[in-house]
């Protein structure tokens, strides 16, 4: 469903324009960002942007979303690869995802000032897309630990945790903090998995 873009294959000029677009969105939002703004920020011409992204702003925004998702998932893969055991895999994944979302300036601007743009793509039934994408991606990493049958639901469970604590911060839980996440995982998640594996 989601095609992972090979970030290396994207031309550097395309990446430069996309990064410029992200800086503009972080500053002014999606609605107010014009192709002129992006061209100025990327030090190129409008014609160049149209050549790279036929269709203009919509095409550029779609490419930006694709690239950001690809970056997110390749970082998540690196995090998973470094994990030594199930607990580290879950803790690392939650921290990486939470920090990526919280630290994404363009996303945070849009969530704060243009929620009507992003929420319809992720709420209620539309959340299926987010949950299935994340769980399809993470399940193979979880399967060796929890079994192939349970892996997708565990991935979905953890994705729910990231979303709830990111969208609505809790007093006692900081999903960007390792100690806090480790405690969350040990207290509420691992007991449910031990049960499931047996």
């Amino acid at each position: 469903m989601m095609t992972l873009v090979d970030t290396d294959r994207l031309g550097t000029q395309e990446q430069r324009v996309i990064d410029a677009a992200l800086r503009c969105i972080a500053r002014w939002g999606i609605g107010k960002t014009t192709l002129d703004d992006v061209a100025r920020e990327a030090s190129c011409s409008r014609a160049t942007i149209y050549r790279l992204f036929p269709g203009g702003k919509d095409a550029l925004l779609a490419a930006t979303t694709r690239l950001e998702l690809a970056r997110f998932f390749s970082g998540l893969a690196r995090t998973f690869d470094e994990a030594a055991d199930l607990e580290d895999l879950l803790v690392g994944g939650i921290i990486y995802a939470s920090r990526s979302l919280a630290g994404h300036e363009a996303l945070q601007f849009v969530l704060a000032y243009e929620p009507e743009v992003v929420l319809p793509k992720v709420a209620f039934r539309q959340a299926d897309r987010v949950l299935t994408t994340v769980s399809a991606f993470a399940a193979p990493y979880l399967a060796p630990h929890v079994g192939a049958d349970d892996a997708p639901r565990v991935a979905e469970w953890v994705a729910r945790l990231v979303l709830t604590y990111t969208l609505c911060p809790a007093d006692g839980v900081d999903v960007g903090d390792e100690e806090s996440v480790r405690r969350l995982v040990r207290t509420y998640v691992l007991p449910g998995l031990v049960t499931a594996v047996r």
Binding site: E116, L131, C168, G192
Partner: protein
């Protein structure tokens, strides 16, 4: 029946009726005044912020009523796991069958979702307060506090009410399994 309603509630109920009929974008203060049988001046006295405040409060009011109905529906459950099972079954069905919610989600998601997101914090507080007394009566795993566990369980409930994901929340057996594992495995002590 409406004689028991406060003026504020009468306006909110009329606002809700208008949203059901015309949607969020097209409902005006004028419409709500007509539907409530009150003057525009009275409406502005109760909702000085006008249309935006009124519609925001209508959404908050109906959200409150929704979770009030949910709390009422599960209050008689024999034990805590059953209570959560009933809550998931009831709430999932209630969201699916909520005609006004489904209609605005379909036609005006960009208007209703930002408002509902604002409500999340309040809803979490409501569910948490509802759960704490039950958790205080349960035998909890070592190191688990009722307040903190209530927050965790409230978040999971809300997440599943919004989207069932891989689970079928119309199937009592699946709901029982979900409650036993993802909601309570870390919370309750003993032989599950």
């Amino acid at each position: 029946m409406s004689v028991d309603l406060t003026v504020r509630e009468r306006i909110l109920e009329a606002g809700y009726t208008c949203v059901a009929r015309y949607g969020l974008a097209k409902t005006t203060v004028e419409d709500v005044a007509r539907a409530s049988g009150l003057s525009r001046a009275t409406l502005y006295r109760y909702f000085p912020g006008g249309r935006d405040q009124l519609l925001g409060d209508v959404i908050a009011w109906e959200t409150g009523r929704f979770f009030g109905r949910l709390a009422e529906a599960v209050a008689g459950a024999p034990d805590f796991p059953s209570l959560l099972e009933e809550a998931l079954l009831f709430a999932h069905r209630a969201v699916e069958e909520h005609e006004v919610l489904q209609k605005v989600l379909q036609t005006e998601p960009e208007r209703v979702l930002p408002q509902l997101t604002v409500e999340i914090e309040r809803i979490l507080v409501f569910i948490r307060r509802f759960l704490v007394p039950y958790l205080e009566r349960e035998d909890l795993r070592p190191g688990v506090e009722p307040e903190e566990a209530a927050d965790y369980v409230a978040r999971m409930l809300l997440s599943f009410i919004g989207n069932q994901g891989r689970w079928d929340l119309t199937d009592p057996a699946q709901v029982a399994e979900l409650v036993r594992t993802e909601l309570l495995a870390g919370v309750l002590a003993g032989d599950r």
